[in-house]
């Protein structure tokens, strides 16, 4: 037991480091929604500044200025620490003003990527300005030795942990009890709300960035005596810190700090346990602990990070649909072949490297660009293939091309496993999981001497039908034959990815990327599509990894390190992660590629500058152009294409033939009421439906009958549970009770399964895929028609008057048209019953009337409709039968005229006078 105490105490130092960094992560995330991967480098800035001040020098990390300024005297602890904290606070403010404020409307993933940019810039500057020699500082905390169980335990680690805990407690208290803290929390919950209530979220965020800069500096100063400072010594530590922040939901400071300390202690105690538990792995133990913790917390809890009420720009750039495959393929292949023959020596090495990294970047295009899953593990997956290829060729003699295919398949399988957590979590947590996985795989496999020898693993080069395709034969290097092989594979992968983008599966991936709920609502099997994306992406990464292994003739963990992987992700994002040309550009820009070589040869900028340039480029790209470097080119191409196509340009979205009517010639009275239809048999039936959220009962024992061939309205005041009821019917909200459609029991089925049983659904705010065309958006919905024939696209578009805008991107349509597109997407799956959530939301009365007519057309074509809407005029004139919901219960049910007359309905709406007016109008 004594020994356990000793080892747990030993773990305090590492734990306190994780805790300190986790604290800065939480402070930053809470105030500005940024998972700040540069926290570690910011702490390092504090540590360096402090260390230099203690030597009597002021560090100036900006190139061009003198490296240090002599301040004449070696500062003591307090002044040095104070100045360092102040400098980091200002740096935090600058980062906020220059990077994250301009990126305020960018989604969390974009901000996280920007923070990687900041990290690259800072650590690049440290490398250039300070160099890589470890800088060490004197101990700050008292080092007394205590004897426990015969072992010396020094007090400094205990003090360190206590100080971090104290700072965390003080910060937490400040956030809880001060007005500033209250404002921060308010702004964190809803930036829009904060604006409305007169708080300036910008100032709050700025102040919080200064606080997190200061906290980072304190962390850095305390870490400095433990860990020699090198430009990247803190960057690795961010992963356990992320785990601690995840435990605390990126929301609460004290739990994050406690979790950080606990991780350090567990890692330390495992070191002791490894002595007795010999089954524990010799390498990668600590990394596996971190990964398992993250997995456990994220997957078991499956709670999204607290999100913020913000108006966000579409997350990634548009993923442009290739217009044709043949021509671009031909042109780029020809250019590639020409380049292979023109270049030689270093230039050919750089070209081949570019081609290989382009292949791996294309895997990111599939996984992240199309399916929207942020994966930091793609280079690691390439490594899985690389190491597998070494075993396959060198140990088992598997020939080309079986070996790389098998290696890529292995990567594919591992990739699916890596992607499994993405089934339970969404967005940034996926990124955190993949990062931790990459780190763990690297430590446990690539850098584990149980599996890999000291000089790495050798790879036997490819030969096919007597054709020698090896990268080097004697002094013939790099060989044109090998370059052509890599080029061929890149072209094949490129064509494959283009085909994927144009396929139904591709549309489904983009649907998942745009909005998982609405994709599921359209009948897309989200889980399957995500896994397929990981499988395809990892296969592509595996092909790239195999080529890299062939190129080098030997693999070590270095070529596939997590950090190069992070850099690759950053480069791909910079180049344009949503398109094939972006993937290829990423190869050219990236690690050891053509552009760095040009920079070096022409610009005289050595490799150490490249990190800084890439980081800056990344930040500027995110601010100016989320589609990456190739984005504007696509934009121009598309504009030219549209200009050339008069048919598409002609109809004005609102005034075209099939579009909503303009003012002229239409009575402004709105939809005319018709005699309610009684309808056929009950087609959708709910019995005793109950939905509970925590202690709140949102839907309370609702019985509902929808008869075939009718339009049924669902109304009620705000918060009555209308959308929740639709969610329960369509399987998005967990409920008790039963739901039957056409006699089939749907109770307990997943959303996409219900959709496939012919229960169609749309969402409030028309959750469309902005970068897909109208046709593509609608086609995604055809996935719903499993076992039935879908309606044809033409038929659907014509029924809804969308034929003239079929090829336009949805982003260019009017609000009215967009609503109709979402209806069309649900309709093409040929549903028996269509659930519409506020189809007239945001429409004016003309548009709403036009929509009503379209809905009648749909009903007349044999589809039953259940709709929620706030437009009482529309509901009362359009519906054949109406349910009124209040506090989760049905308070009235009947024909429009009966509802109009029901006093309970008016009562329910009381307090909201305009609604009452609407009811009686």
């Amino acid at each position: 037991m004594d020994q356990h105490i000793v080892f747990l105490l030993f773990g305090l130092a590492n734990g306190a480091i994780y805790a300190a960094l986790a604290m800065t992560l939480v402070v930053t995330y809470r105030s500005s929604g940024v998972i700040n991967f540069s926290s570690g480098t910011l702490a390092l800035l504090g540590a360096y500044t402090y260390a230099f001040l203690r030597r009597g020098e002021l560090l100036v990390p900006i190139p061009g200025l003198p490296k240090t300024v002599d301040i004449g005297t070696e500062l003591g602890f307090l002044p040095a620490a104070a100045i360092s904290v102040a400098i980091c606070a200002v740096t935090g403010l600058l980062i906020h003003l220059l990077v994250f404020r301009p990126l305020r409307a960018v989604p969390p993933v974009g901000k996280a990527v920007a923070s990687i940019g900041v990290m690259l810039v800072l650590s690049g500057l440290f490398t250039i300005r300070i160099g890589v020699d470890g800088v060490q500082t004197m101990p700050i905390l008292p080092v007394d030795s205590w004897k426990i169980g015969g072992v010396n335990v020094t007090s400094d680690r205990v003090w360190f942990a206590l100080i971090i805990l104290a700072i965390a407690a003080a910060l937490a208290a400040a956030y809880t009890f001060t007005r500033f803290g209250l404002l921060t929390r308010a702004a964190a919950n809803s930036e829009k709300g904060a604006y409305v209530s007169g708080i300036k979220p910008d100032r709050i965020a700025a102040a919080n960035w200064m606080i997190s800069g200061a906290v980072a500096a304190i962390a850095g100063i305390l870490i400095a005596p433990i860990l020699p400072l090198t430009p990247n010594s803190f960057t690795l530590l961010i992963v356990p810190a992320l785990a601690a922040a995840v435990v605390a939901g990126f929301d609460r400071i004290l739990p994050a700090v406690v979790a950080g300390i606990a991780i350090g202690m567990i890692q330390s105690d495992l070191t002791y346990l490894a002595g007795t538990w010999t089954w524990l792995p010799t390498s990668g133990r600590s990394e596996l602990v971190v990964l398992l913790l993250i997995l456990f917390v994220l997957v078991a809890r499956a709670k999204p990070l607290p999100s913020r009420g913000l108006n966000l720009r579409p997350s990634l750039g548009r993923a442009p649909r290739p217009q044709s495959i043949a021509l671009p393929t031909l042109i780029s292949s020809a250019a590639g072949v020409a380049a292979v023959f023109v270049f030689s020596g270093d230039w050919l090495v750089a070209l081949i490297t570019s081609l290989i990294f382009a292949i791996i970047a294309l895997s990111l295009v599939v996984v992240t660009g199309y399916a929207g899953q942020v994966s930091f593990a793609q280079l690691t997956l390439a490594g899985v293939a690389g190491f597998s290829l070494a075993t396959l060729t060198d140990s088992w003699g598997v020939p080309f091309p079986l070996a790389p295919l098998a290696a890529a398949l292995i990567a594919s399988v591992v990739g699916v496993v890596v992607g499994l957590p993405a089934l339970r979590v969404r967005g940034l947590p996926v990124a955190i999981v993949t990062l931790a996985t990459a780190v763990a795989l690297e430590a446990f496999w690539f850098a584990n001497s149980d599996y890999v020898g000291s000089s790495g693993k050798d790879v036997v080069g490819p030969e096919l039908f007597g054709l020698d395709l090896r990268s080097r034969v004697g002094l013939d290097y790099p060989r044109v034959q090998f370059a052509l092989l890599v080029l061929t594979i890149l072209v094949l992968v490129g064509v494959g990815v283009a085909k994927l983008r144009m396929s139904r599966l591709g549309s489904q991936m983009l649907a998942v990327r745009a909005n998982e709920r609405s994709a599921a609502g359209a009948g897309v099997a989200v889980v399957r599509v995500k896994l397929i994306a990981f499988a395809i992406g990892s296969f592509i990464a595996g092909l790239g990894g195999s080529m890299l292994a062939y190129f080098q003739g030997n693999v070590t963990f270095v070529s596939f390190s997590t950090f190069i992987g992070l850099t690759l992700f950053a480069t791909a994002y910079l180049a344009g992660i949503t398109s094939i040309s972006g993937g290829v550009a990423a190869g050219l820009i990236g690690v050891g590629g053509m552009v760095p070589l040009v920079l070096n040869e022409v610009g005289g900028l050595g490799g150490e500058w490249f990190a800084v340039i890439a980081g800056l480029g990344l930040i500027l790209t995110l601010i100016g152009n989320p589609e990456g470097v190739v984005g504007p080119i696509h934009e121009r191409l598309q504009k030219r294409r549209r200009d050339k196509a008069p048919v598409v340009a002609a109809p004005a979205p609102l005034d075209g033939d099939g579009g909503p009517p303009d003012n002229k010639g239409v009575a402004v009275g709105g939809l005319t009421a018709r005699e309610p239809v009684v309808g056929g048999d009950v087609v959708l039936e709910a019995r005793d439906l109950v939905v509970r959220y925590g202690g709140v009962v949102a839907v309370d024992g609702v019985d509902l009958d929808v008869r075939a061939g009718t339009i049924v309205g669902l109304i009620g005041p705000n918060g009555a549970g209308k959308t929740t009821l639709l969610d329960a019917l369509s399987g998005f909200a967990p409920s008790t009770g039963s739901v039957r459609l056409d006699g089939n029991d749907l109770t307990g089925r997943a959303p996409h399964q219900r959709v496939r049983h012919a229960l169609g659904r749309t969402f409030q705010h028309a959750e469309l895929y902005e970068d897909l065309s109208v046709t593509e958006n609608v086609v995604v919905g055809a996935a719903a028609a499993v076992g039935r024939s879908p309606r044809t696209v033409t038929e659907t578009l014509e029924l809804l008057g969308l034929a003239d805008v079929a090829d336009l991107p949805v982003a260019e349509l009017s609000q009215g048209r967009r609503q109709v597109v979402s209806v069309a997407r649900a309709l093409i799956g040929n549903p028996r019953v269509l659930l519409l959530d506020e189809p007239a939301g945001g429409l004016d009365s003309r548009e709403s009337q036009w929509l009503g007519e379209r809905l009648r057309d749909i009903r007349d074509s044999g589809v039953t409709i259940l709709l929620i809407d706030h437009d009482m005029h529309l509901v009362l004139n359009l519906c054949d039968d109406i349910y009124v919901l209040n506090f989760g219960e049905v308070i009235a049910h009947g024909t429009p005229s009966a509802i109009r007359a029901d006093s309970r309905v008016a009562e329910a709406y009381l307090g909201s006078a305009h609604a009452e007016q609407e009811v009686v109008s």
Partner: protein, 408 residues
């Protein structure tokens, strides 16, 4: 030193080339080992007059880019010096062809190919993380590969590989010191990466077993900042002496943990250059630490001032305290002086190999009083490429200076 070269790369987040910057395998510059400023007499001028002969030198970074760039810069200065004072290579003027691996295997292969195609009679380097790739590419060309230290057994055992420091020396010397101190079990604290743990496991473990000593491997993950628990666990397992292999930051951390644990047994390391702030941060300084290296740590010893003078006279802005420069100088001139023992050698790769294989006598190694090179293949049994079996063991005082040195 080689053992540490990959350590740096692991810790680097960056794009390709800058990875190389942390490769300063032997760990950067040393304030303690910095040499005096007084210029010394370089002796009689002996200009090279013969037709130019090409010699290759490979570094992991371009000259001028940080600590690693020192290697190529030092090799260039050493070439000028050799052409001026040593009669070049066998009387022929040395034309140095340099190349940087940028720390990637692909570029390293390209370097080796480029040099071989240029017709160099030998490829030299100090220490590089890319020795495997370079040697693979040179195989079959007949061009010899001269390296200060490697852990690649193939290079050590090859007739065209020449290794100037004995990779086994740290093991044998550790064993000797452990016995001398009456200790029983040696703990080897190394970076948890195959390039570091592999050779120790393969070379040291059998040697310790054969000598009746206990052996404990202590691989440290770079993800863990404070290594105390792993080290204590090794002490629990019986280690009463430690050998620490890594760069100076890594070694400093381990020594600090040992100090804090109150460990008083022998501490041995491959690092000889520590910075002042690193030494200051250690509770007991470097007192009692033994370094094993091919470079002397006694500032007054012969050679250091000469090195500084040569770098100043023939080079520009070379950090003479940096190991990478010192090792490049030692290796390059060791090669030149070995070949020059045979008159007329040095015009072809074949000649160079023959001259090195049949050196009429051993050549004193620069910066290493007492160490000599002889590449006749007899220095270490089985490993014909190793030219020197011994190492300088310097016991340091608290401030990191050696007062005495022994050859082990």
């Amino acid at each position: 030193m080689k053992l540490t070269t990959r350590y740096g790369r692991m810790a680097v987040l960056t794009i390709g080339v800058s990875v190389a910057l942390t490769l300063a395998g032997c760990g950067g510059s040393s304030d303690a080992g910095d040499s005096g400023t007084a210029d010394v007499d370089l002796g009689t001028v002996n200009k090279a007059t013969g037709a130019p002969v090409k010699v290759g030198f490979i570094g992991d970074a371009e000259a001028g880019s940080g600590a690693l760039g020192n290697a190529i810069a030092a090799a260039e200065a050493s070439t000028e010096y050799a052409n001026e004072y040593l009669g070049g290579l066998g009387g022929n003027k040395i034309e140095l062809v340099t190349c940087s691996t940028e720390a990637t295997p692909a570029t390293a292969t390209a370097c080796a190919v480029k040099l071989a195609k240029a017709g160099v009679v030998a490829v030299t380097t100090g220490v590089t993380g890319q020795d495997h790739a370079i040697f693979e590419a040179l195989k079959g060309t007949g061009v010899p590969f001269i390296v200060s230290l490697t852990a690649d057994a193939e290079i050590m055992g090859s007739p065209t590989g020449f290794v100037f420091q004995n990779p086994l020396a740290i093991a044998t010397a550790s064993a000797a010191l452990i016995k001398k101190n009456g200790a029983k079990t040696g703990g080897f604290i190394v970076v948890d990466a195959p390039a570091a743990t592999g050779p120790v496991e393969a070379l040291t473990k059998p040697l310790f077993k054969a000598q009746g000593l206990g052996f404990e491997m202590v691989p440290l993950s770079l993800q863990v900042a404070d290594p105390t628990s792993a080290i204590q666990q090794s002490i629990n397992n019986g280690s009463d002496a430690f050998t620490i292999l890594g760069d100076n930051a890594f070694v400093t951390r381990a020594i600090k943990s040992l100090n804090q644990l109150g460990f008083t047994g022998p501490m041995i390391t491959n690092i000889s250059a520590f910075q002042k702030d690193q030494i200051d941060s250690l509770p007991n300084g470097l007192k009692g630490v033994t370094t094993m290296s091919s470079i002397t740590r006694i500032p007054e010893r012969e050679g250091l001032s000469e090195f500084a003078t040569i770098m100043k006279k023939f080079g520009k802005d070379i950090d003479t305290g940096a190991d990478s420069g010192q090792v490049a100088y030692q290796t390059f001139l060791g090669f030149v002086e070995s070949v020059n023992l045979t008159p007329g050698a040095g015009t072809s790769a074949k000649d160079v190999i023959a001259a090195m294989k049949h050196m009429p006598k051993a050549v004193p190694m620069r910066l290493a009083p007492g160490l000599t090179l002889n590449c006749d293949g007899k220095a270490v049994a089985v490993l014909q490429g190793v030219c020197n079996a011994r190492t300088i063991a310097a016991t340091l005082n608290a401030k990191g200076f050696a007062t005495t040195e022994a050859l082990l």
